[in-house]
Homo-oligomer: 334 residues x 2
Amino acid sequence: MSSPQRRTTIKDVAELAGVGVATVSRVLSGGSASAETRERVLDAATKLDYRPSALGRNLRQQRSGGIALLVPDITDNFYARLADGVLSCARSYGEPVTIGVTGDDPEQEADLVGSLLEQSMDRVVAVPSGDGEMWAPALRAGLSVVFADRRVWRAPGQQRVLAEVPAVLADDRAGVRTAVEYLTGLGHRKIGFLARHGQSHRMQAFRDAVGDALDEELVVPARASRDSAYAAAAGLLQRRPDVTAVLTGDNMLGEAAVLAARELDVRIPRDLSLVMFDDVPWAELCAPPLTVVAQPAQDIGYRAAELVMRQGRRPRTVTLPTQLIVRGSCGPRR
Amino acid sequence: MSSPQRRTTIKDVAELAGVGVATVSRVLSGGSASAETRERVLDAATKLDYRPSALGRNLRQQRSGGIALLVPDITDNFYARLADGVLSCARSYGEPVTIGVTGDDPEQEADLVGSLLEQSMDRVVAVPSGDGEMWAPALRAGLSVVFADRRVWRAPGQQRVLAEVPAVLADDRAGVRTAVEYLTGLGHRKIGFLARHGQSHRMQAFRDAVGDALDEELVVPARASRDSAYAAAAGLLQRRPDVTAVLTGDNMLGEAAVLAARELDVRIPRDLSLVMFDDVPWAELCAPPLTVVAQPAQDIGYRAAELVMRQGRRPRTVTLPTQLIVRGSCGPRR
DNA sequence: ACTGCTCATGGAAACGATTCCATCAAAGTT
DNA sequence: AACTTTGATGGAATCGTTTCCATGAGCAGT
């Protein structure tokens, strides 16, 4: 019936305004033009309801706009909030956001980076997994990357280029220290720490915080799945009934710890004190309400997105404060 | 130092293989070619590590690949799982996913749809808010849309085009009915229902399920924010101390109900029975563990993405089953 | 041997924007 | 008056791919 709805292009606008396409382009992207021409062009554009096609622009400038975001798991409330921050910043720039989930797996991450290159996306906010070696070629290819929540494991021979990637992080070190001090203040001496592989920095911070009292057996790593988290938590509690307090590196491990304790009939906070990294909405609904180290997840995302948009200023690493929120999951050692 | 790293193009491959660019394109996209040429081209492509630029392709085909996903709130666990489903399906097609959050606001949604058009994205999975009028022009512009979790409010004079949009839904009606039957089975007669504006279909299902016993004052709507949810929950409990059971239309309202009850010293399940729509991980950690109507969120996303990818078959609406999971938040009326 | 057919192939057009460059007029400088 | 400078302007090139179309080779049927 109706014609196939050809898109109105810059050519149509130029024709209606009686000018060349170059002039239209200039006017619309803020170049110089006489007041009269400008008005004619703007008029024509609104009359035709013209919206420039991102496709043409992208091809010409050899880059597609928008921000790519790589997170380990979008169903994790922490990363969801981080994503929300990125989305909210991107929206203020009018840029679309493409999301990929890595599952904390370097291989999948490399795949996704490949796909970004294919799309000529050149702005990425990423929560890196693994040692980040796959990032080096991408950086050389002109990608501008900002790390969020973690930076890459810095091996001794690591390429310099990686060290220069800006990052927006929560102050893990201070967060862990505060939590540990809080627990030792309550009399606890045998404190366990549950962390995922991606959280080696928190693991290290924990080791530093407990200092001489460190018992390496109490620092237990988990893979990035619910099952693995539960296994790690239950394993620790069974293997070492002498631990009186546990700190977890993220909310999934916190959940696992609560479940495992409940299953093993270990009462919180009577038999076990628990501090969880990241304040999720349910922490308050839990029985008992959980004492947590809150992180500004949304802020982390927002700031990271801001950094990746302003490539002008040489960006540096930003560290945002954490906060210990005391609820009901910790008690004195008994 | 090193050259500015020009991207290797199809031309380079053609040159190295000693054929024309058209042939390279055909080979790479599965067109016909002699076995020998095919091999030469493939060889050259791998030797040069050639990856076709999505930019060129997109411009030529007048559409950028990928799937767009519009959800009200990515930090809501339900939509996060839905998004995860979409992402997982999209990945199996090798397609990138662009996410936008609408905040359940038709205006923001319209903005986002506009931005999609600008990007020439033509495949959208959306959780629509409002009456969906802004979708009609988009559909006419050739967008293929699949609704997830909800369909649009169907006003009497609604355009036919909207009624033909395929949708993937949870079986709300059955879920609500099962929950209501469960509660009445426990002796409850005054059952409250908390729902967000976007959940009018569940609201209607609730009205139908309680039938004659309907007390319109017990059906209370909330806006899409934590505060509004809390206000609605607290309001209901204060205004009508005679309600002995509450069903909530989503998890945020469930959270609000728990909090409000706790604040008002209404004990669950002794004084109030609570059933929440959507089984989130924390439902089990809550005190008491919440009885829920579980929805296959990830599946909904996956199937919706599948539908939007296969535009070949005329797609129809899919309804996925819900399941009542009884935990500890309901008791007999006292 | 001629005709008709299929099939592989490459040149060139197309997609829609930005941007280089040449042109031209008007204003300013000597 | 002759020159330079400035600024607006439009034509054309460009980005990398897909696809239309013409060409020519090979082959079978008569």
